[in-house]
């Protein structure tokens, strides 16, 4: 049981600053996901919580006590690594028992804990095997088992599912979440996969280039992305971004190519007359009658996924490209013209220069 608090945490390697002051309070029992593209510093941040990297500036505290100078062993944390980092010469049992053995726990207690954890993870039959005799998913479970037996204050996950195949990833994702809920241990989970982030996290921290761009629940972030970067990173396929101009009263949008439509509610009078970036998620386009349509899309290519259909096309004089996602199977021919509308609550505006969201 633990609360974790990051206060203005900085990290520099040599002269390069890689984490530029991140603050976040993680509640007891919360599952928090750090999401970002590779190289954004998300693993570094996790490793700083673990104690594997020093903290250049700022404080990390667990249950109110600053742990900056504590060794990883003294922070009462457990970590699942991307490549699992199982000890190759030890059996599964010994792998799981090792941390307890170092902590001089009585043998009977070690045995009980390992067997209990193995039962939860359904790896009892593999306890005598070596890691190399296990499949990826089984190794993953052992790595989790090694954490569970310790009964730590905090779980740390460093992209634990990225070495698994797609199907197993979905299954393990669900299991990790169930396990975390059952044990109710504060967890920090690093990933570059936005679906993992959306499904696992109570809250997520979206990172870009060493900054925490947005912290919030997955739905908050999906509905109100704070910047253009977040908007493009969350959601698949990615959000469409269209350069647009606002009318002086902020009630109308004009796209390149002479397409204009009015914003029904939630107009932006403060930004009237500005050039902005309009963001529309592919799933928010709706087919409409020709006369009410906001835009007319000529289809270039479609991908039928079964549950839904991805349509790639262009519109307007300058052939702006657009991706949409329509429910069900849609058999459209190439070069068909689709008439589309978007509910105005699903329009996102971003500042052209800073990329920041324009609040409505």
């Amino acid at each position: 049981m633990a609360e974790v608090s990051l206060k203005n945490v900085y990290k520099t390697f040599g002269k390069t600053e890689v984490i530029h002051g991140i603050s976040c309070d993680i509640k007891d029992g919360e599952f928090i996901v750090i999401l970002g593209p590779s190289g954004c510093g998300k693993s570094t941040l996790l490793r700083m919580v673990a104690g594997l990297e020093t903290i250049t500036k700022g404080d990390i505290s667990i249950n109110g006590a600053v742990v900056n100078k504590l060794e990883p062993a003294d922070r009462d944390i457990a970590m699942v690594f991307q490549n699992y980092a199982l000890y190759p010469h030890m059996t599964v049992f010994k792998n799981m028992a090792y941390g307890l053995k170092i902590r001089k726990m009585p043998k009977a207690e070690i045995k009980k804990r390992v067997f209990d954890a193995a039962k939860i993870l359904e790896i009892t039959e593999f306890l005598d095997r070596k890691p190399r005799q296990l499949s990826g998913g089984q190794r993953q479970r052992v790595a989790m088992g090694r954490c569970i037996v310790r009964e730590p204050k905090i779980f740390l996950f460093d992209e634990p599912l990225s070495n698994l195949d797609a199907k197993l990833r979905v299954q393990m994702r669900l299991e990790i979440r169930k396990l975390q809920e059952a044990l109710n241990i504060t967890s920090i989970y690093v990933t570059h996969d936005q679906i993992e982030a959306m499904t696992l996290g109570d809250r997520m921290i979206v990172m870009d280039d060493g900054y925490a761009v947005q912290i919030g629940t997955p739905l908050e972030i999906y509905e109100n992305p704070a910047t253009r970067f977040v908007a493009g990173f969350i959601g698949s396929p990615a959000m469409n971004f269209l350069p647009a101009g606002l009318s002086t009263d902020g009630k109308q949008v004009e796209l390149h190519g002479g397409i204009r439509f009015s914003i029904q509610n939630g107009d932006v009078p403060n930004h009237g007359g500005q050039e902005v970036i309009l963001g529309i998620r592919p799933e928010h386009f709706v087919l409409a009658e020709s006369k009410t349509a906001m835009m007319h899309l000529t289809i270039d290519h479609i991908e039928i996924l079964g549950a839904d259909t991805l349509v790639y096309g262009h519109f307007g004089e300058d052939k702006t490209l657009l991706t949409l996602r329509l429910p069900d199977v849609c058999h459209f021919k190439k070069n068909t013209v689709l008439d589309l509308i978007v509910s105005s609550k699903n329009l996102h505006f971003f500042d052209k220069e800073s990329g920041k969201r324009i609040e409505r």
Partner: protein, 280 residues
């Protein structure tokens, strides 16, 4: 590749057999000679084993060749102590040196690594006089420590272990840290067991290296009690005007071959594993 060319099969086998004979015949002759009396060898040497085999080996092991002053048994023991000392010493020191270089950050780390590496270019023969002087000043002449310690540092083994340690994922070290272990635990619980096969392979190579040392023991020992077998054999040949005791010399030679052969036979499996398999 499946080939059915009888001629090729015949030719390859012929070459193999020829090569094998080339290696085996001298050893066979040595063995046969060790089973005859001196008179039989010098007058009428037949290529069939004689009847004095046990007698010759007994003499070699318990009485020893004349003029040398030590029995073959003693010299074998000396050789064994030296070879094992060098082997264990080299492995221990190189493991520790490689561990320090790979896992610890200290000032001039690379400088020390290159310093070790440069010694690869200086074989025993090049530095033999200064080494002798040091050994003499430390009063290590005619002692086991004198035989072992000057040969114990090994750049090759250090380099080999360094390369191996660098292939061990860093996460293992971090996992131990999180599990609550320090550097000593990581070394003994994780790194050492993982290097088991490399150690076995090195053991074979280094034991034979140690057993076959000639120049250094020759320089440093004057007391017969510290002679190694190889020096002993050389001494047996230095009889001047007299008659060398060939049957004893040959018996000693065969005895000198046995320990390395045993090591290779018993450690062959680990040796091959260490050269080919990586456990990761």
């Amino acid at each position: 590749m499946v080939e059915h060319r009888p001629w090729l099969t015949f030719l390859t086998h012929a070459i193999l057999i020829f090569g094998m004979l080339l290696l085996v015949i001298p050893i066979y002759v040595t063995f046969v000679a060790s089973s005859h009396t001196l008179h039989e060898i010098t007058s009428n040497f037949s290529l069939l084993p004689g009847s004095h085999l046990i007698e010759n080996y007994k003499t070699a092991l318990s009485v020893g060749p004349k003029d040398v002053g030590a029995t073959v048994g003693t010299m074998m023991l000396n050789s064994l102590i030296m070879a094992l000392g060098i082997t264990f010493g080299k492995i221990t020191i190189s493991l520790l040196a490689a561990y320090a270089i790979v896992y610890f950050k200290f000032p001039f780390r690379m400088f020390f690594f290159w310093l070790i590496f440069i010694t690869l270019m200086l074989p025993v023969e090049v530095r033999i006089l200064p080494t002798y002087k040091v050994a003499a000043d430390l009063k290590m002449l005619d002692s086991y420590s004198g035989l072992i310690f000057p040969l114990i540092a090994s750049a090759t083994a250090t380099f080999l272990f360094r390369q191996f340690f660098m292939t061990v994922p860093d996460e293992l070290c971090e996992a131990v840290k999180i599990d609550g272990g320090g550097p000593i635990r990581f070394f003994f619980d994780i790194l050492l067991p993982m290097s088991r096969t490399s150690i076995a392979a090195l053991f074979v190579i280094l034991f034979i290296y140690g057993w076959n040392q000639y120049l250094w023991p020759l320089l440093i020992t004057t007391d017969e009690n510290y002679y190694t077998l190889l020096i002993g054999i050389k001494r047996m040949l230095d009889v001047g005007e007299g008659q060398a005791e060939w049957q004893i010399i040959m018996a000693s030679t065969i005895l000198a071959m046995i320990p390395p052969i045993l090591i290779v036979i018993f450690m062959q499996k680990q040796f091959v594993k260490g050269m080919t398999e990586t456990e990761k």
